[in-house]
Symmetry: C2
Subunit: 230 residues, 2 copies
């Protein structure tokens, strides 16, 4: 049995939940607010981050990148054509490059700022750093996003999926981060039609359904968040 410590609007947790969904692996989700640094949580995993995955007798697996590699090693071979990593070396390099692009670069330049300022700050106390969003950070993230949506559009103009012919972790990473941004009405879909079409394909996958049902207390999603024909 797999257990996953996650936060509903942590983009990296969403990335892992999409992967588990694509692999149809049942798991026990455990919601955590990592900034509270609960001793019971830190006793399980000294990294204290979401996502952290547990399976069998393995040590805890903290972080999106380690979890993705673990799932590929432990479960990838039995997934055959649904495997989220290509089998050839060059294909794996490109899938990892683009997975990193969204899980690290897009996160640092866009989704971290929007999610932290507009969602997490609502859940933090004043002493923890909660409060009104820093609009300078929000504006910078918005400006950066346009560049990333153009990149998605350029990739998908030349390929079936972001990293090549098949669905890979790269698509899940991009969609996970964009789903958080889209909840906030901050995804500038009008910028690039090809990027929007690709996201519509992602959104209609069964693995996406649980994400579209989630809500932030006191903050309605954008009108098209759960709309498959947005």
């Amino acid at each position: 049995m797999i257990a996953l410590i996650h936060h509903s609007f942590c983009p990296h947790s969403r990335f892992v939940r999409l992967a588990l969904g694509e692999y149809r692996l049942a798991f026990e989700p455990i919601e955590e607010r990592p900034w509270e640094r609960r001793p019971e949580f830190l006793a399980l995993t000294p990294e204290g981050i979401t996502p952290t995955l547990f399976e069998g007798d393995n040590p805890p697996i903290p972080g999106h990148a380690g979890i993705a590699e673990y799932l590929d090693e432990a479960h990838g071979p039995e997934m055959y054509e649904r495997r989220l990593m290509p089998l050839d070396l060059a294909g794996r390099v490109e899938a990892r490059r683009l997975t990193r692009w969204f899980n690290v670069k897009f996160y640092e330049e866009v989704s971290h700022w929007l999610v932290a300022e507009k969602i997490f700050k609502r859940q933090l106390t004043g002493a923890q750093g909660g409060g009104a969003p820093n609009m300078n950070a929000v504006r910078a993230a918005r400006a950066n996003m346009r560049y990333h949506l153009q990149y998605v559009g350029r990739l998908i103009a030349a390929r079936n999926w972001l990293a090549g012919d098949t669905l890979t972790y790269a698509d899940l990473a991009a969609a996970a981060h964009l789903s958080c941004v889209d909840y906030l009405g901050e995804a500038a879909w009008s910028e690039n039609e090809k990027a929007r079409d690709w996201y519509a394909r992602m959104k209609s996958r069964p693995s996406f359904r649980p994400l579209l049902a989630e809500r932030v207390a006191g903050l309605e999603p954008s009108p098209t968040y759960a709309d498959l024909d947005f």
Copy 2:
């Protein structure tokens, strides 16, 4: 032939150089100051980060984690007992967990601050953010480091190497980051004797030699930086 875009005092570049050294893989090192965002560099790799590795017809491989996975897949099998990742699943999980601990957590809490404030700021112009070190950041990094050195000591009291019986990426990551800190005289070895003994073992490996010969212009290393019996 392998080419590696790196910076001498980028801890993640040092991590990869140690791995290439352990594998005795010849490579062409290309020194880059990524903050200059040279168009020729960004044309090669849109991520614009160090380290970025190139080999054969593969796409560029940006970032420490993707490079480590690539080297394990492309060269690990032929390294036999020198392979830097265990073969069993639980061993790989633990090696990745600790590699992440140093390449991500230690970096964010310690080495990034010390290297950025005390080395990179010397190489930046005023417009790029150069200048005197922010001593609040330096002090916070120093306080965090003590906790990490205790962790190294606890791990090595129970194991031959950080992640288990054999040398892995985890040892190279920890030593790479600590080597930058040690250059600055900021490694608090007196805190933990076991951590210091482990670092002495790492420092005496042939893969370490090129690192110990490097200098920051205008900034002498700590007296024991290159001393194997420090």
